[in-house]
Amino acid sequence: MINTGEIMQTIEMIDQQHLDVRTITMGISLRDCASEDIKRCCTKIYDKICRSAGRLVRTGEEIEAEFGIPIVNKRISVTPVAMVGESCTARDFSPLAVALDRAAHEVGVNFLGGFSALVHKGFTSGDRRLIDSIPQALAETELVCSSVNVGTTRAGINMDAVRRMGLVIKETAELTRESAGFGCAKLVVFCNAVEDNPFMAGAFHGVGEPECVINVGVSGPGVVSHALRSAKGASFDEVAELIKKTAFRITRMGQLVAQEASARLGVPFGVVDLSLAPTPAVGDSVADILELMGLESVGAAGTTAALALLNDAVKKGGVMASSHVGGLSGAFIPVSEDAGMIRAAGSGKLTIEKLEAMTCVCSVGLDMIAVPGDTSADTLSGIIADEAAIGMINNKTTAVRLIPAPGKKVGDVVDFGGLLGSAPVMPVNPCSQAEFIARGGRIPAPLHSLRN
């Protein structure tokens, strides 16, 4: 029998250190839902999601009850809708988002991702229509998330798409002005997007994925920070070991939940995404972990090195605990969703420039950052281009999820509520890059893309 200390340790992790499974995400292929008639396409999408995911939420709740481990979100990711809608003759794709939203409500999931297009090398007609429809789609729906991949290490960066996405973000913010630009919290611009990411807002069901799949995202910054409290003054060798051991335990739990969900739903298991995903709750913060390593505040010199160690140790610890690791796997640094980041950003100790440096070594990118409402589309595009360049050159996923909150200035706070938290509006460099963005075309793939 497992000993008392081990049992109590698990219970303490769940009760006091916010250990949870962040999400069970069911990936569903919608490739068989295409139709020339958009209404027919909507019906097919709605029916297929309801058929495939009808039992998802209940199954998640059953597992939650039996194992005594909270499963915070049950979600769905679908084939990038640009591909599903490609055959439609309609110009506006927002009805497809409405159909997705209805289906998501019907099956009771928290979010549905995949109102997406992959345009890293160029646009098809479906891609263009989807991207044009994003602002309206996000304004009209509640649970649908959207993402656009504008670059890859293999293909380079599509700067026309980068320019377009700056405008799309502005327009989305404007259409959701009443909720401080909340639509933008559901929109991610990627470089090197992954096909099996279970986390929102960037989840979609990639074209290489099976008909239906279960991916699980674990979390647990609180458990790591708790472990680090006992290691004050210890060397980095010891710190890395401690994080690895903790990540192993967290991931084993995720693997168990993933296998159980897969067996009960009769759907193949895809991956466990071993991410440290913070929440605004006190004690569930990635910033806290970095500060426990000896920084006065996240954003101080040393932050990037601390994050690099954390991100790497999480992967090393988790990888042996799961049969298939995938998704984004690493430490997330969303500003509004992390109490420590909010504190540091609000007091000016953490800047966008430092966050950009941190994205070179974290699992994704500039995430959930509110910027002034008068930030120009060109500046947003410039930030996207910088992030995409970091991803392209470093062979990693990077992303931008910025909220140019309408009418808000530096110093204001934008409150999104729930897991999305609140974001202090951060200053951006006001210098113009209009000419740079207006060039268009593609930034060629780097030399190391030629790996064959």
Partner: protein
């Protein structure tokens, strides 16, 4: 199916008897018990077999939690697998 029942709270007379009686009523067989006082709290851990359990997992879990609440105890039941997964390779 095997599960772990944990009971944590202030030590009083009859905790073990009370919990065991609830389990026995439902046909739950107790395989192992360990009990200790941790940081001043009564802490009991039981390994139980649910093969012949007459109620659903949810039902049993809710009943134990309610009983615990009446007596100022935190009682929970979780499948054994989660502890094995986290602490054994």
């Amino acid at each position: 199916m095997k599960a772990i029942v944990t009971v944590i709270g202030k030590d009083t007379v009859g905790i073990i008897a009370g919990v065991c009686a609830r389990l026995a009523e439902r046909g739950v067989n107790v395989l192992d018990i360990s009990q200790t006082i941790m940081h001043g709290y009564f802490t009991m851990i039981m390994l139980v077999d649910l093969t012949a359990c007459a109620s659903s997992f949810d039902g049993l879990s809710a009943e134990l939690a309610d009983y615990g609440e009446e007596r100022g105890l935190s009682i929970r039941i979780q499948r054994e697998d989660i502890f094995n997964a986290m602490h054994r390779i």
